[in-house]
Each structure stands twice: as C-alpha cells, then as structure tokens.
C-alpha cells in the first residue's frame, strides 16, 4: 500500500518536472555543449532533472558520447600510426603523379 503511494508520488513528480522543465528539443543543444564546456549551475541542474525523468534523452547523450569515443579511438589509432580502413589506397595514377613531383 505504502509502496503504491510512493510510486504514485514519484510518477506525479516526474510528470510535473517533464511539464515544467525545458523540452527535449531545448535540451539537445545543451547536451552537445556539455561535451564542450562546463555547463552553468542552472544548466547542470536542469539537465540532471531532465535526465532523471526522460530516458530518451539519457540515450541521446549516451549516443553522443559513443560517437565521440569511437572517433577519438580512431584518431588515437592513427596517431599511433596503425592502419585503419586498409582497403583504401592511393590510385596508381596519383602515386605516379606524386612520384614525378618528388623527383623534380
């Protein structure tokens, strides 16, 4: 019984927050900027509350982080001179052209 009441209260709070907080569309640029700079206290609070009630935005932010990490991983591999995408090669014509330019 108490459990049921508690759930109802949580639900009401979440509903209230979702209605009052900035919308998902407004949060999207903020989530992107959270990867670029330290958000203001106000922005951090709004984002935290929004993420508490909106799992879609949790995934949105998570997706952005996954993209960043995959790209950073690629950058790091190339930095370490490892081959990525080794199927891509200079064409014979380009190779020949560069060879001639270097010989000049």
């Amino acid at each position: 019984m108490a459990k049921g009441l508690y759930d109802k209260a949580i639900h009401a709070v979440r509903y209230f927050l979702l209605r009052r907080l900035p919308t998902c569309k407004q949060m999207a640029p903020v989530m992107s900027e959270s990867l670029e700079r330290r958000l203001t206290l106000r922005e951090r609070a709004a984002l935290k509350l929004h993420l508490w009630v909106c799992v879609w935005c949790v995934w949105y932010l998570e997706n952005l982080r996954t993209m960043r990490e995959a790209l950073r991983a690629r950058g790091a591999r190339e930095e370490g001179a490892a081959d990525v995408d080794s199927a891509v090669k200079l064409s014979d014509e380009a190779r020949e052209r560069i060879r001639r330019a270097l010989a000049r």
Binding site: L18, R19, T23, C24, K25, Q26, A28, P29, S32, E33, L35, E36, R37, C54, W56, C57, W59, Y60, E62, N63, L64, T66, M67, R68, E69, A70, L71, R72, A73, R74, G75, R77, E78, E79, A81, D83, V84, D85, S86, A87, V88, K89, L90, S91, A94, R95, R97, I98, R99, A101, L102
Partner: protein, 205 residues
C-alpha cells in the same frame, strides 16, 4: 661519419621509400578528414614535398611515419583555412540537420521526442566500432550531406581533439557558432547512424 651514423641507427629514414611505405597510410588519414579524393592526394604530395625539404631537421629522430603525419596534419588544417576563406559559409537550411521532425509539433508534449522516433539504447562498444570497416563506410555516408565546414569542424574536434580556440581560428567563427555547428553535426550523425547502423530494421518509419 655523422651521416652514416644516422643512416645506421635509423635505416628507415630514406625519402625515396616514403611514398611506398607511407603513401597509402597518409592518403587514408587525409581522405577521412578531407572527404575528397583529389584534395587528399594533393595533401599527400604537399606533405612529402615539404618533408623532403625539412629532411635534415628530422635526421632520424623518432618514427618516420609520426613525423610525416605531423606535417600532413598542418597541410589538412591549411586546406580548411584556405577553403573557408575562399567561400564564406551560407547558413541556409542548416537547421534541418537538427531534425525537428523527431519532436512532436503540437499538443501537451510539444517539443518532446516522438516515441516512435526517439533515441534508442545503442548498446555499442566504441572500441569495437572503431575496428569495423563497414561502420566507417556508413559513417562517411552519414557525414556527406553536412555542409563542408560543419563536417570539417566536427572531425577536427572529435577525431583530432583540437580545442575550440584553434578550430574557431581556422574557420574564422565565434565559439557560439562552433557550438551550434557541432550540435548540428552530432544531431544529424546520431540520427543517421541510428537508422543505418544501429537499427536498420526501423528505417521505414
């Protein structure tokens, strides 16, 4: 004596072998960032020519490939700088990359995600993604509709980890411009990858 020592401690430092040993690697590196085959070929050529001239400075210190990559990096940034000076960016239609159609446009939940188009849990491991050639093919295609400047700024930021000040200087933009561009690039790529890589089954929606 000094010369032969260099040659013997670092037998790799031989300009005549650069193209053969590192040509494809440098080309791939440039192509991913410039997204244009002939611009990438030019960057490789410029890099090797510059390397030839600066050869004595290198003198076998460190890895030859790392040294060449360092030169290539500058050539790529130079390319972006030239390009942004030559054609000033137009802002027309760039908002469409924020995909407003993913949000409800009316009712009580206006501007919240449409449930059937909302983000999903990718359950992805970035390290594994990085190793999948097919992922990078899809990524390249998703990147292609973005305005050149937006895609270039995004790659400099995410792949090479340049800081905002450097990127703003290259493209002659303000930090706020940059944040808007990065947001658009991310919003578009996220949606495109979700449809075409993470859950192709939902393409029809």
């Amino acid at each position: 004596m000094a010369t032969s020592q260099v040659a013997s401690t670092n037998p790799a430092a031989d300009p005549s072998l650069w193209l053969e040993r590192h040509g494809d690697y440098l080309y791939r590196y440039a192509l991913f960032r410039l997204r244009d085959g002939s611009a990438a070929e030019d960057a490789v050529q410029e890099t090797l020519l510059a390397a030839l001239q600066a050869y004595r400075d290198f003198a076998g210190r460190g890895s030859e490939r790392t040294w060449l990559t360092g030169i290539l990096k500058h050539k790529i940034v130079d390319h972006f700088r030239r390009a942004s000076r030559q054609k000033p960016a137009s802002q027309l239609g760039e908002e469409s990359f924020e995909h407003p159609e993913l949000f409800r446009d009316e009712g009580q939940w206006v501007e919240h995600w449409r449930p059937e188009r909302a983000p999903v849990d990718w359950k992805a491991d970035p390290a594994r993604l990085c190793e999948q050639t097919e992922f990078w093919e899809v990524f390249r295609e998703c990147l292609s509709p973005l305005p050149e400047r937006v895609a270039s700024a995004f790659l400099l930021r995410e792949v090479d980890g340049l800081d905002s000040a450097e990127i703003c200087e290259v493209f002659q933009i303000t930090t706020n411009n940059l944040w808007v561009m990065l947001h658009r690039a991310r919003a578009h790529l996220r949606r495109c990858l979700e449809l075409n890589w993470f859950r192709p089954g939902l393409l029809k929606r």
